[in-house]
Amino acid sequence: MSRLSSTTSMPTGGTSHRRLRALLERGLPLTERPWRALAEQCGMSEREVLAWVERWQREGLIKRMGLVVKHHALGIRANAMVVWDLPDADVAEVGRRLAAEPAVTLCYRRRRCPPVWPYNLFCMIHGTRRERVLAALNDIVERQGLQDIPHRVLFSVKAYKQCGGRYTREEQP
């Protein structure tokens, strides 16, 4: 833990940690010492790299770290974005309840854009087939008492692009 307490004194204006972030967005090299390989590419020590990653995890910049699965390759091909038009007073509570549903993989409140877009809550449901996704949705609607809430189901018909976020300004490292 002594390593952690020293991270607050890390330089914040440097470029090497930005380079590290850009590299991390593309994933770890699959070698015995992945952190050392990254360290060499951004001019840090392996310990510094680990300390940065530990800090980013602790601060919540990194939400999780591990295998990022492409569900389509596993046969999870039906992917529905369900959008709901909830009263503003209820949206946070319903959002939390939907997020706790095992079938719901993502759940966000978003700004409406009336008149063209009245929906303010978005959730994703994935499954092997449309019927199963729709059955899961019907089950959620029943149990959560959402029968009277206007909602639409948008199934994906084609993925033109699916990759992790690229937030850093740096171009291809």
């Binding site: 999780r64 390759a73 409140r109 300004r169």
Partner: protein, 167 residues
């Protein structure tokens, strides 16, 4: 569909999060699963090649990592592929899906949003500049849907292997 062996499944079940933060993470994973470091690395490389994994590494919180926005555009079906390609060429695009389900009574045709994408940037100013450039290139107005609140905690995605194998 890729044929996964028992080790592949155990890796996916155990390590969508919590990759060990140590010098030799794949050795630590192997130790937990009772296999060698080499086996873990080999399977991960294979899974990545087979496009079962997009990568092994961190998932950044979009709300903290920079600026990002879900946007949609309504285009005639005949133009959909060409518009999607133009969106993909634009910097910062990380998801771009065609979706159906909106076309029905009540919403006018021009509001039948059929392309949905997420644009990212290092900050809000760069994001808006990218959106405006894309809007101009496409000649269609973008529906901008900024996130107000995230309700889920991203823990990865439990895979139900039995359901995948069901006929």
């Amino acid at each position: 569909m890729a044929e996964l062996d028992a080790l592949d499944r155990r890796l996916i079940d155990a390590y969508q999060r919590g990759l060990p933060l140590c010098e030799r993470p794949f050795a630590a994973m192997g130790e937990c699963l009772g296999v060698s470091e080499t086996q873990v690395i080999e399977r991960l490389r294979w899974l990545q090649q087979a496009e079962v994994l997009s990568r092994v590494g961190p998932v950044f919180d979009p709300a903290r990592a920079g600026a990002s926005l879900l946007a949609a555009v309504a285009v005639p079906e005949a133009e959909r592929d060409a518009v999607a390609e133009a969106i993909n060429r634009s910097p910062g695009i990380n998801h771009n899906y065609a979706r159906e389900g909106l076309a029905r009574e009540g919403l006018a045709r021009q509001h039948d949003y059929n392309l949905w994408f997420v644009m990212t940037a290092s900050d809000e100013i760069q994001l808006e500049a990218r959106l405006e450039a894309l809007e101009e290139e496409l000649g269609y107005a973008l529906l901008r849907l900024p996130m107000v609140e995230a309700f889920h905690i991203d823990l990865g995605f439990p895979i139900s292997w039995a359901e995948l194998e069901a006929p």
